[in-house]
């Protein structure tokens, strides 16, 4: 298992779980996709903070989510990332009464995670270039 992964790859994997109808993933895909997407989201934030504000990646998730908008210089995306993390976390924990997230919900979450990965990529590019 490669230790170095990138958020794009994880996001793609999550999307594939949704889209590819397979007997192997039947039934487990919603939570699996949620897990992968959340990992991609957290990885994206980690990479962002390593590049623009080292040390921030060690703080609590709540803190990291609150800072995302500012650090990305995109408050709207930051808000969506925070909301998405909460949605995905529900799917990653056992909740009484909660069924796994639905395909539609996951689709929206994955789109946000993908947008985050893109934004992180751009931000890191700028930092490297500066």
């Amino acid at each position: 298992m490669p230790d170095v992964v990138d958020a794009h790859a994880l996001t793609s994997a999550a999307r594939d779980l949704l889209r590819i109808d397979s007997d192997v993933t039947a039934g487990l895909w919603p939570r699996a996709a949620a897990l992968l997407a959340r990992q991609a989201l957290e990885l994206g934030l980690e990479q962002l903070y390593r590049a623009v504000a080292p040390g921030l990646e060690e703080t609590s998730m709540r803190c990291q989510l609150l800072c995302a908008g500012t650090m990305l210089n995109d408050r709207e995306l930051g808000g969506r990332v925070a909301a998405t993390w909460n949605v995905l976390s529900d799917g990653c924990h056992h909740r009484v009464y909660e069924l796994p997230p639905a395909a539609g919900e996951l689709n929206v979450a994955i789109a946000t995670v993908w947008a985050l990965a893109e934004a992180v990529e751009r931000t890191r590019g700028r930092v490297r270039g500066a």
Binding site: M1, P2, D3, V5, A9, L10, S12, A13, D16, L17, L18, R19, D21, V24, T25, A26, G27, L28, W29, P30, R31, A32, A34, L35, L36, R38, Q39, E42, C92, H93, H94, V96, Y97, E98, L99, P100, A102, A103, G104, N107
Partner: protein, 814 residues
């Protein structure tokens, strides 16, 4: 619940509790229908009532559901099959809203009921959008195992591409057939095996009479109701007849009051009492009676036919009288008048001479006069004189006869003239003339007599003729005025007779109805009792800590008054269910009502499908619901579709035997159905599945710690719940505690240390109790985020599995 059984119950009852006079026959006749009731009322010898029971098909055989197959219908694209175990038991179909789970219940409903009213009520959008967007071929099937059938029964509804919703073809075992051939049409209406959230929500709003119908139909008393209706219809028709007759009397009376005719008065008098004297009225109209001897009409008729002297007769009598008088006068003035006397004298002379010979006259003494010659002449003269005298005698006789005939013409004024009250004709003048006419002069003065007759007679004749015309005209006028009334009466009479007959019939019918009603109510209460008990038991299970207590549940009243009494007490205070219950409680109550109905032993449907009963239900109720469903599932196949896991959790936590099927929907309407044994094992299985599969992208393996963490959390939830319930905590309290943990350590704190807040102590606890599990737990937490697991994957998953089983040993039993 065959009809003959019900009928013999009624016959027995009539024997033991006889109905009032004549009502028993009507009750029995009512079972054979309306025409039999009419016949019995008509007094016709009644055929023994034949109650058909052969006409009804034998009760359909018991059927369990084995599968619902859906293709291109609603939320389902590719053909997907929901398989369930045929036989009693509880199956939960769990899926989020939009996952496609309701497509299965809707498909079953569509297969069994077609596009019926309930579907038509739906919005146009729904109706147009019934066909799945991703899959244009539509076909839905339900499979059943049916007692006595070796092969499964398959009922299919399919559509040609682009067909409308209600344009489907029904196939039974692959052949086009009507659903009726299964004998399911009536049971579907009486014991609906499909209960949707929508129905549960609106059932109680429908009103007490609809609820009555919904429940009364299962009591099998429809024959009694039909019989009651037959009696009531007959009675209403009779009452209608009476009413029409009474209404007609009002019109008739005003017509009669305007009619200037004594018959009108007679009829009015006969109409006044409550009981009309129909016979008298009939006689009056027929003209054959009624009216007294001196009635106006009678008197008018007498006047119109008043005997009248004919002018010709009067003239001839008077002329004859005058001629007889003239004849007598004429003979008296001539010599012949004395002829008789002379003839007598001569005859006496001849007689004297015959005895004394001589020719001397004994009167004057002249001799030689009474000679033979004289004698010859005298004899001739006597003959001559006698002829003359006969003429005079005839004339006198004639005069006598003429005078007598003339006097005979005259009679006293007829009685008819005497009473002219109220007849509208004046008889005074005629009476006066007639009296004067009757004053015939006395004595032998025939000329005076003739003059009196002639003058008074002619005047009287003219006056009587006038009077007769007048009386006739008056009669005609009265007849004209009476005729419409008479016609109206003639028209009314049959109605009146029918109404008179109807009154006695109505009394009999009322008795029969009253008898049948009490029989019906008693049987109804008897038969409803077990259902009411089941509802009470259900409600007791469901209400939990609700302060609403269900009172006596009864079907009461009839016709428009029929209702289901749904009285409740709230903390001891009486109230109405609809007024005091929350929507969730109402849903519970509706389910309490309809589950016993669906579970009637007479129903061929051994399955009941309940779509989303837990909406608007609080957690405490869900526990009660689970208990109630579990109880129903002991004898029936209970399939519940639900949009969240509350029910599934309750079933698991309460250790209720159930099959849980999860519905998931991928993109493009691909619907997956998975049986879930228990969530712990399921997450472990998922983790193993991902670990073992080679053809997944490497990234996928990063989900394994996440699944492992889910398994541990689920095990913790199960263990904590079971422990708290054992400790006697209420289900609602347990649910509140289960909402607390948000991390794995909190879950483990709750499960292992009894407190979610003690997550921080978990590691130390594990170090002491299950040191081998410490690393696995920490890796679960770390790996769920980073996705990285350093050690051997399989060993990691096995450690998690072992720890799960130690936390929740119950889980593996499922």
């Amino acid at each position: 619940m065959t009809d003959t059984a019900l009928f013999s119950l009624v016959v027995e009852r009539i024997a033991s509790q006889p109905a009032p006079d004549g009502a028993g026959d009507l009750v029995l006749a009512a079972f054979a229908g309306r025409s039999a009731v009419d016949a019995a009322l008509g007094g016709q010898a009644e055929q023994p009532v034949a109650v058909t029971d052969g006409a009804k098909p034998a009760a359909a055989a018991a059927a369990y559901l084995t599968a619902i197959e859906v293709e291109g219908f609603r939320g389902v694209g590719e053909r997907t099959t929901l398989s369930v175990d045929p036989g009693p038991g509880l199956t939960l179909v769990v899926g989020r809203n939009g996952s496609g789970k309701s497509s299965f219940s809707e498909a079953l409903e569509m297969v069994l009921l077609g596009s019926n009213q309930r579907w038509k009520d739906r919005s146009k959008v729904w109706q147009d959008g019934w066909q799945n967007l991703h899959h244009r071929h539509s076909s839905i099937s339900a499979r059943f195992t049916v007692d006595g059938r070796p092969e499964p029964l398959v009922v299919t509804r399919s559509w040609n591409d682009g067909a409308a919703l209600d344009d489907s073809a029904l196939l039974i075992d692959g052949k086009p057939k009507a659903l009726d051939t299964l004998g399911w049409t009536e049971p579907l209406a009486a014991y609906p095996p499909l209960l949707s959230h929508h129905e549960l929500e609106s059932a109680l709003d429908a009103g007490p009479s609809k609820l009555y119908d919904a429940l009364a139909s299962i009591l099998g008393l429809s024959q009694l109701t039909d019989a009651q209706n037959a009696l009531r219809d007959a009675r209403l028709e009779m009452e209608h007849t009476s009413k029409r007759a009474r209404e007609a009397v009002v019109t008739l009376r005003s017509l009669l009051e305007q009619t200037d005719d004594e018959r009108a008065t007679t009829v009015l008098a006969a109409l006044k009492p409550k009981q009309w004297d129909i016979d008298a009225i009939e006689r009056t109209v027929a003209g054959s009676g009624g009216g007294d001897e001196h009635g106006v009409l009678r008197r008018l008729r007498d006047l119109a036919g008043l005997p009248v002297l004919e002018r010709e007769r009067l003239t001839s009598v008077v002329t004859a009288l005058r001629e007889a008088h003239d004849g007598v006068q004429r003979l008296r003035d001539s010599d012949a008048a004395r002829a008789h006397a002379t003839a007598e004298l001569l005859q006496q002379a001849l007689d004297v001479h015959a005895h004394t010979e001589g020719e001397t006259c004994p009167v004057c003494g002249t001799s030689n006069v009474l000679t033979y010659e004289w004698r010859l002449r005298a004899v001739a003269r006597v003959t001559e004189l006698r002829a003359e005298a006969a003429q005079a005698e005839a004339a006198a006789r004639m005069l006598g006869e003429s005078a007598r005939a003339a006097r005979q013409l005259v009679s006293a004024p007829p009685l008819a003239l005497g009473d002219a009250r109220d007849i509208g004709v004046d008889t005074g003048a005629v009476t006066q003339l007639w009296e004067r006419w009757a004053e015939v002069p006395d004595g032998d003065d025939v000329m005076a007599l003739a003059a009196h007759l002639e003058s008074q007679g002619l005047r009287l004749i003219a006056a009587v003729a006038d009077l007769r015309r007048e009386a006739a005209a008056e009669l005609e006028r009265r007849e004209r005025s009476w005729r419409p009334a008479a016609e109206a009466i003639l028209q009314w009479l049959p109605l009146a007779r029918a109404a008179r007959d109807a009154e006695t019939s109505v009394a009999r019918l009322k008795n029969a109805e009253a008898w049948l009603k009490s029989a019906h109510d008693e049987l109804r209460d008897q038969r409803f009792k077990p259902i009411a008990d089941a509802v009470q038991a259900n409600w007791t299970a469901l209400r939990q800590d609700s302060n609403v207590k269900l009172g006596d549940l009864r079907l009461a009243g009839a016709a428009s008054q029929r209702r289901l009494t749904l009285d409740v007490t709230v903390d001891g205070e009486p109230g109405s269910a609809l007024g005091v219950m929350s929507q969730g409680e109402l849903n519970c109550l509706a389910l309490s009502l309809f589950l016993p109905r669906a579970a009637m032993p007479e129903s061929p449907f051994r399955f009941v499908v309940i779509d989303d009963p837990v909406q608007a239900m609080d957690p405490a109720k869900v526990e009660g619901l689970a208990t109630m469903l579990a109880r129903a599932a002991q004898e029936r196949q209970v399939i519940v579709l639900t949009h969240d896991t509350r029910l599934a959790d309750a079933v698991r936590f309460l250790d209720i035997q159930a099959t849980v099927i999860e519905v998931l929907r991928r993109e493009s309407s691909v619907v997956e159905l998975r049986r879930i044994l228990d969530p712990v094992q399921r997450y472990i299985d998922d983790a193993f599945a991902v670990a073992k599969t080679k053809d997944l992208p490497v990234e996928a393996q990063r989900v394994i710690p996440g699944f492992c963490r889910l398994a541990l959390e689920a095990a913790s939830a199960l263990a904590a719940t079971r422990r708290m319930l054992r400790e006697g905590k209420r289900y609602a309290q347990v649910q509140a505690v289960l909402a607390q943990p948000s991390t794995l350590l909190m879950w483990l704190g709750l499960a292992l240390l009894g407190d979610a807040q003690r997550g921080g102590d978990v590691r130390a606890h594990l170090q002491r109790q299950q040191p081998w599990a410490v690393d696995a737990v920490m890796e679960c937490n770390r790996g769920a985020h980073s996705g990285v697991v350093a050690r051997d994957l399989m060993a990691f998953i096995r450690a998690v599995e072992r720890l799960s089983k130690e936390i929740a040993p119950e889980a593996s039993r499922a």
